[in-house]
């Protein structure tokens, strides 16, 4: 089932499926530059309180994305946090 990156909780892992059509082109470019490629594995390292940007890991780089961006990245959970 496809959900978005923002809905991940700390410890969740997912595979990127793509981006939704409403995501601004320049945001998509920046995400691809950062390694958020379709097929790439991403893990959520921190999901902070009060809706603060979440912390994600792609390969060996750590990024913080807010909901304006992360909610447009479509993912499939591969290893939910238990």
């Amino acid at each position: 089932m496809s959900i978005n990156l923002w809905s991940l909780k700390s410890g969740d892992r997912c595979e990127i499926l793509g981006y939704d059509a409403t995501l601004d082109e320049k945001y998509r470019i920046r995400l691809l530059e950062f390694g958020f490629h379709p097929g790439e594995s991403v893990s959520c390292l921190q999901s902070l309180a009060f809706g603060a940007p979440k912390v994600y890991r792609v390969s060996n780089t750590v990024f913080s994305l807010d909901d304006e961006v992360a909610s447009h990245v479509l993912v499939r959970i591969t290893n939910a946090h238990e």
Binding site: D24, K26, Y27, I29, R30, L31, L32, E33, F34, G35, H37, E40, L45, Q46, L48, A49, F50, G51, A52, P53, V55, R57, V58, S59, N60, T61, V62, F63, S64, L65, D66, E68, V69
Partner: protein
């Protein structure tokens, strides 16, 4: 002179390599209006060869105005016949982030016939974790020479110098191959495959980072750490800079005492004392604050904490159209708007940076404190209420401080909602770099460059305005009486403007002169009331104001006026230089004056209903 271009993505350790190769002997050029710096310096080992350090960028596909300028400059430089070589820095520990950009640089350089050498930086970090990078295979895949280096230890730099000394020819495989025509999309796919092939596996490299993030981003511990670090930052510009600022003032005082007796002509003497020393002192006094704040912010940036602080503050500030990166400049603005405007350079989104510029002058800076102290002492009773729990003067000071902050956030919230300039905005996609120990020498160099920029760029404007105001206040009666000077005449002329606030010409003159700096209001008012050194001993001036039967509403109106109005030529000068837009500085000055005036009139008229 032969030139070498040095380019790399942010956090790739490029600046440290640049400093190693040039030995810190370099100059920094700013592009007007944007935060991009280009440093140039002679290579230590190769005199006659100049190294040009480009700002870090994630790709050659610019998505903001700042990036466009940097990318255009790089592409123009490739056309320069003096450019003989391009050095492209990648972070060997995080190849996936750098390879797309590297392939773009190789393609563009090859199109212009410039050879590229890839510097795989941070090899020391890889080695410390017993990891390796197959340099030969990577060079083969990139079709460009790759040298493993360490900016921190200097490892591999002799090989870099050797590569620059050698004959510079393009590899055969780049000439006339399809690679020259590869699209960005094709390069992105290639980079992704290369990163998977050469990138390090496992979490060994980010284990420490994850552990420290567990503390600094923890909901409780992270909050404490944040407040403690912000407290230190605030102390640095408010308390630690104070002795240095006093030293600057004292040195100028000593110099003035030495020079002034040598001048015979009274007008020349007055000009030297008030305009020359006053004018120079007006901007030199800010240098310690700029230096110290740049140093502390540099420590935060280089250590990796700045990105974490931005993350913590982002959500509440986003509501007001700002970003998490706006917090530190705004906090700095509570001490002084000038270093705060410099601090806003860290904001990568041009739109959010402009909005932060708008909020900074409304932060209750320390120059407002003497004005608030005088007006509160004159108009608010020094009594307590609620059984001694609340002192009215303290409450008034608290209220006026927060009123300024509230107005700043109100302005950015309104402007961000009414002006939808998405073209210059950037998403909140923030790289959280590894925690590192900052390198002090390059940091001190940055502090020096920033201070020099202020003195050379803003100093001229501040000095010119100071001289202008001095001339208006000194002539035609040669400083005998401020009331009958041209400034006094202007004060009488604009008296009707301040009448709706219940103020007479004397306050008009004090407001006019406070354009130099807000605290000048107190000194000017003291001069008009015939009180010496009113800035240091306010009590006689407070009594004079109380005896002048001025209404309480006028006092509160003045407080409100000073909380909002952008009465500071130094702020306007640096705003104009940093934003690259004199028009923005003028619009903000006029806009905040009108806002301040309207709010002050409203307060006076409203309080008039009850008194």
């Amino acid at each position: 002179m032969s030139k070498v271009l040095l380019i790399g993505s942010p956090n790739s350790g490029k600046s440290l390599l640049f400093n190693r190769l040039t030995g810190l002997h370099h100059k920094v050029a700013n592009f007007p209006g944007i935060t991009v710096d280009v440093s140039t310096g002679q290579l230590q080992q190769l005199p006659g060869m100049e190294l040009i350090d480009f700002p870090g960028t994630y790709s050659l596909q610019a998505i903001s105005a700042d990036e466009r300028v940097a990318v255009d400059y790089f592409e123009r430089s490739l056309d320069d016949p003096e450019v003989s070589h391009v050095l492209c820095v990648v972070d060997a520990t995080r190849l996936e982030k750098s390879l797309y950009f590297t392939l773009q640089v190789i393609r563009e350089s090859a199109r212009h016939g410039k050879p590229v050498t890839v510097l795989a930086n941070m090899m020391d970090v890889l080695e410390s974790h017993k990891l390796t990078l197959d340099i030969a295979q990577l060079a083969d895949a990139l079709q460009a020479p790759v040298i493993g280096v360490s900016g921190r230890s200097g490892k591999g730099l002799p090989e870099v110098v050797g590569a620059l000394k050698g004959e510079r020819v393009l590899p055969e495989s780049w000439v006339g191959t399809d690679s020259l025509e590869a699209t960005d999309e094709q390069l992105r796919i290639t980079a992704h495959k290369l990163a998977q092939r050469f990138g390090t596996r496992g979490d060994v490299l980010i284990r420490n980072q994850t552990r420290l993030d567990g503390i600094f981003l923890h909901s409780m511990l992270g909050g404490f750490a944040f407040f403690f670090i912000m407290y230190l930052l605030f102390q640095s510009i408010f308390t630690w800079a104070a002795p240095l600022m006093d030293a600057v003032e004292m040195s100028l005082g000593v110099l003035a005492n030495w020079v002034l007796p040598l001048i015979g002509n009274q007008t020349a003497k007055d000009f030297t004392a008030d305009a020359l020393f006053g004018g120079i002192g007006a901007f030199l006094v800010f240098v310690p604050q700029i230096f110290i704040l740049t140093f502390v912010i540099g420590l935060l940036e280089d250590s990796g904490y700045m990105a974490r602080a931005a993350l913590i503050c982002h959500k509440p500030l986003r509501f007001f159209g700002l970003t998490g990166k706006s917090f530190i400049p705004m906090l700095s603005g509570v001490a002084c708007a000038i270093p705060a405007i410099y601090a806003a350079r860290a904001i990568d989104s041009p739109r959010k940076r402009i909005l932060t510029y708008m909020a900074i002058p409304l932060m209750p800076c320390s120059a407002r404190l003497p004005v608030y102290t005088l007006l509160i002492a004159a108009f608010i009773p020094a009594t307590t209420g609620l059984g001694g729990l609340v002192g009215w003067q303290g409450l008034a000071m608290f209220a006026i401080y927060f009123f300024g902050m509230f107005c700043g956030l109100l302005v950015t919230a309104l402007v961000s909602r009414t002006s939808k300039d998405q073209h210059n905005d950037l998403p909140f996609v923030l790289e959280l770099p590894p925690y590192r120990l900052p390198s002090l020498k390059p940091l001190l160099r940055t502090c020096w460059n920033r201070s020099k920029h202020f003195v050379t760029k803003a100093g001229k404007i501040i000095f010119a305005v100071t001289v202008g105001v001095w001339v208006l206040g000194y002539f035609p009666n040669y400083g005998a009486d401020l009331g009958t000077s041209w400034l006094g005449y202007l004060g009488h002329l604009i008296e009707p403007l301040f009448a709706p606030l219940g103020l007479d010409w004397r306050y008009g003159v004090a407001i006019l002169s406070s354009f130099l700096a807000r605290e000048v209001f107190v000194g000017t008012l003291g001069t008009i009331f015939g009180i010496e050194s009113a800035e240091e001993h306010m009590e006689p001036l407070v009594q004079q104001i109380q005896n002048s039967d001025m209404a309480l509403g006028s006092g509160i109106a003045l407080l409100v006026f000073f909380a909002i109005a952008l009465q500071c030529v130094s702020t306007l000068a640096i705003l104009s230089k940093e934003s690259g837009s004199t028009s923005l500085a003028v619009k903000m000055f006029v806009g905040y004056f009108l806002f301040a005036y309207a709010a002050a009139v409203a307060v006076y008229q409203f309080t008039g209903l009850f008194t």
